[in-house]
Amino acid sequence: MSEEILMDIKKDYVLSKLRDGERIDGRRLDEIRPIEIETNLISKAEGSALVRLGDTQVIVGVKMQPGEPFPDVPDRGVIITNAELVPLASPTFEAGPPDETSIELARVVDRGIRESEAVDLTKLCIEEGEKVWMIFIDIHALDDDGNLIDASALAAISALLNTTVPAERFGLGDDFPLPVRNLPVAITSLIVGERYLIDPTRDEMSVGNRIITITSDKDNNIVAMQKSGSYLLSEQKFYELIDVSVEKAKEVRELLKEI
């Protein structure tokens, strides 16, 4: 059966269930799939975490090395976030330079970490104007069963929580834990007509790629938002989504506190 027909059948199924207020995997509309976080898998990396969000799997590795600061913030470390949607993770991903989807993914995750000031970059200055710590956050998708964004954001902050600054290796004193002081959590919802589904699976995405990601921090501030996909969003729904996303983020944040 062709991929297209299959998608249409899935779409009909998702919509018919939704008419009864149900999801195809039995979850409540605002229920997040089971989450597993495994840290410290990659001993070659300064920090790492594998996140399983249902069947979606993402691994994030953090590498650090000394580098030049940006001229306008000469006393702060630098964060560089990169995402590779390798073809291993989905039949729809193709090898090649990052496309708009992987660029958007990396930038949305990056904004959550950057704007929540999760890492205290002022503690990562080695020599003002000359040398600071560079943090490379590499998002490596393994299995895309929907909502790579939330899984990636969670893996990124988990890996950072688990990161040791490799000062010794570069002759810069003793190693020390990366100073992480905030816990941003991204919550992505799929908009379907008048309803929304939190943490959509890939099968649910068959109804159309109409999502919004709202990232909030430990003080329940919103720190990043991204409407993604070709659709129009009513103001009323926008307000609802903000409220529910901040609430759900609290739940997920509890998991991070256990790392």
Binding site: I80, E104, L232
Partner: protein
């Protein structure tokens, strides 16, 4: 490094942005920067617009409906909409390397996604509608300026739409919300929220684009949305005016 060649939006040192209850350029909190819009500025494009929004200077061009190349990109039942946001190398303080960087790829994507549900794509099967915007001078809010210019260029090109898109940002600076932030407020502020709204029959119907970075409470976010809506209505009036002026000019010429 490939992944670094972009305009990183860095939080810089603290600068006082509100002095004696006024913004650095003297504007009130809910006041837009001066806006200048001219439709039909290019000959080759099917529709075009030059727009200034504060110190931002942008040009938009629309080509289409036209054939799509390569053919396998065509869609059998509707038009394909493309949107290309590009900055001239000389548009920013530090010369920008020509070509797309990660920031412009993202802006192009969310901008295209704002127009896709508004353009009546189903009227033009197998066709392409191309929106090209060039930033000639940048001063915060270039994506909003470009969206506003693109709307006028689309009308100028005669592309049928379900409504008009109007875009403006709200920032949080020194703890207060301000409309349409300029460069200093964007660089040193606490949050930036660009919006694009669909306006139909003279009123705002829905949100076509929203992004955010920074820190805001839930209440501030809702207040920011209200503030943006008011600003958008003002810009909408100027967009209409520019379109009218063009049509009037055409009519006079044609007489």
């Amino acid at each position: 490094m490939n992944e670094m060649d972009e305009d990183l939006e860095i939080k810089k040192e603290y600068i006082q942005l509100i002095v004696d209850g006024k913004r650095l350029d003297g504007r009130g909190f809910e006041e837009l920067r001066p806006i200048k819009i001219e439709a039909g500025v290019l000959k080759r494009a099917d529709g075009s617009c030059y727009l200034e929004m504060g110190r931002n200077k942008v040009v938009a061009a629309v080509y289409g409906p036209r054939e799509v190349h390569p053919r396998h990109m065509q869609e059998p039942s509707k038009a394909v909409v493309r949107y290309r946001y590009n900055m001239a190398p000389f548009s920013v303080e530090e010369r920008k390397r020509p070509g797309p960087d990660r920031r412009s790829v993202e802006i192009s994507k969310v901008s295209r996604e704002a127009y896709e549900p508004v353009i009546m794509k189903e009227l033009f099967p197998r066709s392409g509608i191309d929106i090209f915007v060039e930033v000639l001078q940048a001063d915060a809010g270039t994506r909003t300026a470009c969206l506003n210019a693109a709307t006028v260029a689309l009308v100028d090109a005669g592309i049928p739409m379900r409504g008009l898109i109007t875009s403006v940002a709200v920032a949080k600076v020194d703890g207060v919300l301000v409309l349409d932030p300029m460069k200093e407020e964007d660089n040193h502020g606490e949050a930036d929220v660009p919006f694009a709204f669909v306006i139909r029959n003279g009123r705002i119907e829905s949100i076509a684009l929203v992004q955010m970075d920074g820190k805001m409470t839930v209440e501030e976010m809702k207040k920011a949305t209200e503030m943006a809506k008011k600003g958008a209505m003002e810009i909408y009036a100027l967009q209409r005016e520019a379109i009218m002026k063009k049509y009037a000019a055409v009519e006079i010429e044609e007489e």
